[in-house]
Structure formats: structure tokens, C-alpha cells
């Protein structure tokens, strides 16, 4: 019956009214959407232009070369109220954001991995303690934590005369944290150079060792030799320079005077509070990421590695960590991005980051809201998008390859 030739399929699909053709409809919807979005954007721009004209606010990016006329408490590049421009203020803010983000990322990663591993510790007490830390920190808003560190802890510290003395010539008082300051001599560039050379040599050695292992099966002490190259070469350079008499790095230790601390590097309380708050907060999230990643490697993997005769060390290094990293790295990057974006909360405690300097002071002084907001958002957006791109490449590289 079903094979009967009498119901041969029609050679052409039946004609439908364009009203019911899904392709026509699809294009109609899309054109409508684009028109609506375009209209919205156009109306917004038109209104903005008129409002700005009425308020007599200049437009364009010319203001970036105007004199700023305000001071910034912490600046990595020379900045003076009288001579620096809004463009330079932007650079100062951006650098301050980046330095907080970089320091925060390093510290939060260390603390986060430590707590994440502690949460999986066979020691019941330690695991519970880590769990309490994670739950408490994650469930309290970051802004509140920053205010706590800044207002309740750092501002309540004793004044300079009664500075708290911490081990390693570190002092803590109302004006911030004083740490020993390394002073680089003219020929200090030799040390980073040696570090770079050591790194390159270590990588070359590793590549060669891999080839040799693939060819002959013999293993080489890659870790030890690499460590010796990376650490030893700069230390040797330092030693040689010091022996010759050109001391490349001297350390200036803060000293307690009668009224104030002299010397050393002063880290402002705003900076200390921001780094502390961001580190503690993000570490709790990173700990969860690490825990999830390690738990994602099934126990069978470890057991199979042990059955093949691998020792616990190589099992961890060759079997568990590579698989856990595949799960850990993407959310870890998004935590890094979160930390960078959260550093904008600096504005609440007065740390001169990009948002505080540029969206705060510069916006208030110039009134050029559209340009200032656009520049600030473009900075954060490009950091996010570049990270996302790098992550996509990484994901494609480490993605599980199945037949």
C-alpha cells in the first residue's frame, strides 16, 4: 500500500502565500528588529545631542588634553595637578586598576587554591574550617567587606607613633602599610635579563628532554634542572654583580622615628583595604572552583594510575592535575575577570582607580558624560573580550577529544 505508485510525491512543493513562508517571515522579523533598535539608538543620540547643546556641554575627545587641575593620591607615573592632562589622569587610573587587579589575582589564586585543597582535606576539622570560610565570605557583599576593612579596621589602627610592628620590618598604622622598598641600581637590568635567559634555557631543555623521552624512553630531571636555571641564573648574576662591587638591589627598610616612619615603601590604606578585600572575597570563589575541578576527576583515574604503578606524586602530576585544570581554568578566568571588574568598587573607599579618577572626578569636572562613560566602559569591555578570546583558544586546545 505504502509503495503504491499512485501516491508519488509531488515534484514541487505546493505554493504558499509569502505571508506563511517561514523565510519571508524570518526576514520580516529581523528587519523589524533592526529598525526598532536603530530607531531607539537614533532617538537616544538625537536627544543626547539636543540635551548637551541646551546644557552647553562640549563634545568630542578634546578634553583629554586639557589640564586636569586635581591631584591623585597614588600614581605609578608622575602626575601633577598643575601640568598633567585628563588623558594622563586616565592613564593613572588605568594603571592603578591594573596593579590592584594583578596583585589581587596572584594573592587570591594562592589563597584560593590553598583553601580549595583544604576543603577536600581528609582532616575533618580543616575541611570544615575551609567550608565555613567559603560560606561566610561568599554570602556577604564585597562592598560591605571593603567598608569593614577600610573603615572599621584600617582607620581604627593606631597613629604613626604607635605603629604596629610586624615581622620583616613591616609596619602598620593609620597611614597605611610600610614595607621594605627595593632600590634598583643602574645595572639592575641584568637580573631580569638573566631571568629571561634562564626561562628560555629551561623551556629549551624541556623540549629536548621530551623529544629524547619520546625517542629512547629515558627521562630527564626536567623539574630540577628547570628550577636551577630559572632561579640560579638570576641569583648567580646578582652574586657576581655584588662581588664586583656594583650592588644591583639594595633594600630600604622603614625605620620608626619619634613622630613618623622614615623610608620604606608606603602602601596607602585604601590600596591595602582594596587588595585585602578583593583577595579574601575572590579566594572564596576560587576555592570553590578548585574543589569542583578536583572532584570532577573521577576516582577511577587515580586508581587506574596506581594500578599502572605510578607513585602518588606522578599520579597527581600526570593524571589528576591535567584533567582537573581543564575544568578549573575557564571558571578561574571568569573569577579573574570578576576581580578586575570588582576592583571598580574602589570608588566606595576612595582608591584612585579608573572609575574613581575618570568616571568620578573627570566626569564631574568636564561634564562630558557620554565620552567619559564610553571610554571607561570600552576599557573594561576590551579586557573582558580579550580574555574571552584567549579562553576560547585555550578551550579548543584542551577540549576533550573524543573519537
Amino acid at each position: 500500500m505504502s509503495n503504491s505508485p499512485s501516491v508519488a510525491p509531488p515534484s514541487r512543493p505546493p505554493r504558499v502565500s509569502p505571508l506563511y513562508d517561514p523565510r519571508v517571515r524570518g526576514w520580516a522579523y529581523q528587519i523589524l528588529l533592526v529598525l526598532a533598535v536603530g530607531l531607539l539608538v537614533w532617538a537616544a543620540i538625537d536627544n543626547a545631542a539636543e540635551n548637551l547643546r541646551n546644557a552647553r556641554i562640549a563634545s568630542g575627545f578634546g578634553f583629554l588634553s586639557n589640564t586636569a587641575g586635581f591631584d591623585v593620591s597614588q600614581s605609578l607615573v608622575p602626575f601633577a595637578a598643575a601640568s598633567s592632562t585628563y588623558g594622563q589622569a586616565f592613564v593613572v587610573g588605568l594603571l592603578n586598576t591594573l596593579i590592584v587587579a594583578a596583585i589581587g589575582i596572584v594573592l587570591a589564586t594562592l589563597l584560593g587554591f590553598l583553601i580549595g585543597v583544604a576543603r577536600l582535606s581528609p582532616n575533618w576539622m580543616l575541611a570544615k574550617l575551609a567550608g565555613v570560610y567559603v560560606e561566610v565570605i561568599r554570602n556577604i557583599p564585597l562592598l560591605l567587606q571593603l567598608l569593614f576593612w577600610y573603615v572599621a579596621v584600617l582607620s581604627a589602627l593606631p597613629g604613626a607613633r604607635e605603629s604596629l610592628s610586624l615581622p620583616g620590618s613591616v609596619f602598620l598604622n593609620q597611614r597605611g602599610l610600610y614595607v621594605p622598598k627595593p632600590i634598583l641600581a643602574a645595572d639592575a637590568w641584568a637580573i631580569p635579563l638573566a631571568l629571561g635567559l634562564g626561562l628560555a634555557a629551561a623551556i629549551a631543555y624541556r623540549v629536548r628532554a621530551r623529544h629524547r623521552q619520546a625517542r629512547t624512553g629515558r627521562q630527564a630531571p626536567v623539574g630540577l634542572v628547570g628550577l636551577a636555571l630559572v632561579l640560579g641564573l638570576p641569583l648567580a648574576t646578582w652574586g657576581v654583580l655584588a662581588l664586583v662591587g656594583a650592588d644591583p638591589v639594595t633594600v630600604e627598610v622603614p625605620v620608626k622615628g619619634t613622630f613618623n616612619l622614615r623610608g620604606g615603601l608606603q602602601l596607602y590604606p585604601e590600596f591595602v583595604a582594596l587588595v585585602l578585600g578583593l583577595t579574601l572575597y575572590t579566594a572564596a570563589f576560587i576555592a570553590e572552583v578548585v574543589r569542583a575541578g578536583i572532584q570532577a576527576v573521577s576516582r577511577g583515574q587515580t586508581e587506574a594510575a596506581r594500578a599502572l604503578g605510578l607513585q602518588p606524586g606522578p599520579t597527581l602530576r600526570l593524571v589528576v592535575i591535567p584533567q582537573a585544570m581543564r575544568v578549573i581554568v575557564p571558571p578561574l578566568t571568569s573569577q579573574y575577570l570578576n576581580l578586575t571588574k570588582n576592583s571598580s568598587l574602589a570608588v566606595a573607599i576612595g582608591y584612585p582607580d579608573l572609575v574613581q579618577v575618570f568616571m568620578g572626578t573627570v566626569l564631574n569636572q568636564t561634564g562630558q558624560a557620554v565620552e567619559v562613560v564610553a571610554i571607561t566602559m570600552a576599557v573594561y569591555l576590551s579586557i573582558s573580550l580579550v580574555t574571552a578570546l584567549v579562553m576560547n583558544v585555550y578551550n579548543r586546545r584542551v577540549a576533550l577529544v573524543e573519537r
Binding site: 529581523q30 539636543e50 554570602n139 560591605l144 581604627a156 571588574k341 566602559m377 573580550l385
Partner: protein, 385 residues
């Protein structure tokens, strides 16, 4: 092979009785548990000692501050000043007790505060209706939460003179009331918008997809504080000159768009988990795209992402604190302004205020995260063996 049994050396056979093995160590009971979990080896013992040291460092000062040395009653700063009362003073809960109405309602007129209480009640009913998975008529609940409650809530808080409710300008709203309003507006506005964006991002139509991707990635790529600044200074610019936007309305728009982008990604995760066969089955039954989404795909997808939605609500709830930076009197801002009250100038008042706020946020966020875990377990019950 052919050797007979006589040829075998029998030396491997034991000839004398084995002495009895010692009884096995305890494997149950608190002692055995402690041995296995706390002192199973030298390293483990060291870790236990470390944990004990941390506890010894952290718990006594906390207990002393929060309870033992704390002051619970008092009318002004004298109750909390160590030089006046003559003993060390921990948390000054008397300060919180006196300011609690300010923390809850801000400057909302005292005779109208019953309206805020009714609003809290309406919100609790709506949240309970949606979160209780076996609640009756959950469809009606959704209608209540997304349509009736926002309208009724706005009328109640802002006032409708025709109904005898005096107008209360939003500048007077404050405290937990504003925190709750901001988070509820965020979730109520972001869920429908997020669903539309998620559907758009998975659409077959390239331009729709492009618009949705740009929208989502833009909001996800910038910090919330810049969004709030933008809403504050640019929203009035984008509207015709004679339209003014309420001070409270501006950050609400920013928060709604911001959280819609995050919500879209969560919903998209749920949509991706629904097998293609569901859509195809719906299409073969003759359902249109919207019908198949409304009746087949979304009910399944949204059920999966309830934990994700709750987690995103927790993040939103914590993020609402940022509106205090752009001048809205939310809970944090009331704490900030109460702590500088000269009537309560005592050394521990600041920390007390922050401890109270931390407790408030912790209780709500922790409760919600437990709920998300519970739903997750319940949804996974079908997969458990």
C-alpha cells in the same frame, strides 16, 4: 609436571598454630571516628593542631565581641563607651536596637510604615509561592509575581491619592525596603527579558542572534558600578529634555538590564540541556515556534535552571549594595549614615553596624543558597540510582 605428590617439599605448610591476632581496632564510635578523621597520621595530626590553633585565635575574640562583652540595652553612646561603663565593650547592639526602624524603612513617614509592612508581606507571599515547588496554582503565582505584585507594590509604596494613600516621594524610601525593592525589580524585570534574550541568542535568524549577543556580552563585560554611573548621568541625556527620571528609577533600569544579561546566559544553559527531539516533537504536532517554546521547551528548561536563577538572585541581592555609591539610601547607606550619628559616637559602633549588615546579608544569601542546593538535589533525584 609429572612429579608425584611425594616429591613435593611440604615445607610451605605451616606446622604449628598461629598465635591469635590482636583484636581489631575500633572502627565505630567517636574515638574511632576521631582517629580516622583527625589523627590518622603525623601530617593529619599536625593539620588538626593547626585548625585548633585557628579556632583558638578566632572564636574567643568573636564570642567576646558579639555576645559576652556586648551591650544590649542603652539609650545613647554612654551605654557603649568603655570609659563610662567601666569595662571593655564589645558590639553595641543597643545602637542597632535604637536605629532598627531607620535601617528597615529609611525616612519613610512613620504613620505610613504599615504600607511598607504590607509590601513585605506581599513580597513574602509571592516569593513563597514561586519557590515552593509543590505549591498549588503556580501559574497564577507567576502572574501574581510578575504582574499583580509589581503594580500593587508600586501603588502601595509610592501612593495613590485617589485611593486615600498619600504620595511618598522615593527620596524618602530607604533601608532594607529599598534593598528589597531594588532586588525584586531586578529579578522581576530580568527574568522575562533574560528569557527573550536567551531565545534570541539561540534563534535561527542571524540578525536577531547578533543583536542579542551584542546586548548580552556588552552588559556582562562591564562592571555594575559603571552601569549605575551610566544610568545616573546618561539616562536623563537619552530621554527628551522635558522628561525627568526619578532618582531611584535610574539605577533600577541599569540593574534590570545588567541582570537580564546574566539571566539570559543562565536560561540559555537550560535551553541547551533540552534535547532537540523536544522541539522537533512539538513541531511535528503542529505547534508554532512560540507555542512549542511556551508549552514544551521553556517549562522543562526553566525547571532545570531554578538553582542557577536563585544563585543569580543571590549575586543580585549582594550587588544591590552598589546603589549606595550612586546616592540611593539602601540598607548599607543607612548604616553608613547612622554610624556617624554623634549621639552614638562610641568606639565599637562602626563595627557593630557592619556586623549587623553582614548578619542580615548572610542570613538571606545563605538561606537562598541552601534552597538552591535543595532544588538541585530534588531535580537530580530522578537520575540517582
Amino acid at each position: 609436571m609429572s612429579a608425584g605428590p611425594q616429591a613435593l617439599s611440604l615445607s610451605f605448610i605451616r606446622r604449628e598454630t598461629v598465635p591469635a591476632a590482636p583484636p581489631p581496632v575500633l572502627v565505630s564510635g567517636p574515638l574511632a571516628w576521631a582517629r580516622a578523621n583527625l589523627f590518622s597520621g603525623p601530617g593529619n595530626t599536625l593539620l588538626t593542631l593547626l585548625a585548633l590553633a585557628i579556632l583558638a585565635l578566632a572564636v574567643p575574640p568573636l564570642a567576646r565581641f558579639l555576645v559576652i562583652d556586648a551591650v544590649f540595652t542603652g539609650a545613647n553612646r554612654d551605654a557603649c563607651r568603655p570609659d563610662v561603663v567601666g569595662h571593655p565593650v564589645g558590639a553595641c547592639w543597643a545602637f542597632v536596637a535604637q536605629k532598627i526602624n531607620y535601617f528597615v524603612y529609611g525616612s519613610y513617614p512613620i504613620e505610613e510604615r504599615w504600607r511598607a509592612n504590607v509590601f513585605f508581606g506581599l513580597a513574602a507571599v509571592g516569593i513563597g509561592w514561586l519557590l515552593w515547588l509543590d505549591a498549588p496554582r503556580r501559574g497564577l503565582g507567576a502572574l501574581y509575581v510578575f504582574v499583580i505584585f509589581p503594580l500593587a507594590g508600586y501603588a502601595l509604596l509610592a501612593g495613590v491619592p485617589a485611593l486615600g494613600l498619600a504620595k511618598v516621594p522615593t527620596a524618602l524610601w530607604g533601608g532594607m525596603l529599598v534593598t528589597l525593592v531594588v532586588s525584586l525589580v531586578g529579578i522581576v524585570a530580568s527574568l522575562p527579558l533574560g528569557i527573550l534574550l536567551a531565545l534570541g541568542r539561540r534563534s535561527q535568524l542571524p540578525l536577531v542572534r547578533l543583536v542579542c549577543v551584542i546586548f548580552i556580552e556588552f552588559w556582562r563585560g562591564v562592571p555594575l558600578i559603571t552601569v549605575l554611573f551610566m544610568a545616573n548621568v546618561m539616562l536623563p541625556l537619552f530621554l527628551p529634555g522635558d522628561v525627568t527620571v526619578d532618582r531611584l528609577m535610574r539605577p533600577l533600569v541599569g540593574i534590570a538590564l545588567f541582570s537580564a544579561a546574566y539571566m539570559a546566559e543562565i536560561v540559555r544553559g537550560g535551553l541547551q540541556a533540552i534535547p532537540r527531539g523536544q522541539t522537533e516533537g512539538a513541531a511535528s504536532l503542529g505547534l508554532s515556534y512560540w507555542q512549542s517554546m511556551r508549552l514544551v521547551v521553556l517549562p522543562q528548561a526553566l525547571r532545570i535552571v531554578i538553582p542557577g536563577i536563585v544563585n543569580s538572585f543571590i549575586a543580585l541581592f549582594k550587588d544591590t549594595t552598589l546603589v549606595s555609591i550612586v546616592g540611593i539610601f539602601d540598607f548599607i547607606r543607612t548604616i553608613e549614615s547612622a554610624r556617624v550619628d554623634p549621639n552614638w559616637a562610641a568606639p565599637t559602633v562602626v563595627t557593630t553596624g557592619y556586623a549587623f549588615a553582614a548578619l542580615f546579608y548572610f542570613v538571606f544569601c545563605f538561606g537562598m543558597s541552601r534552597y538552591a542546593l535543595y532544588v538541585e538535589r530534588r531535580l537530580a533525584a530522578g537520575q540517582r540510582r
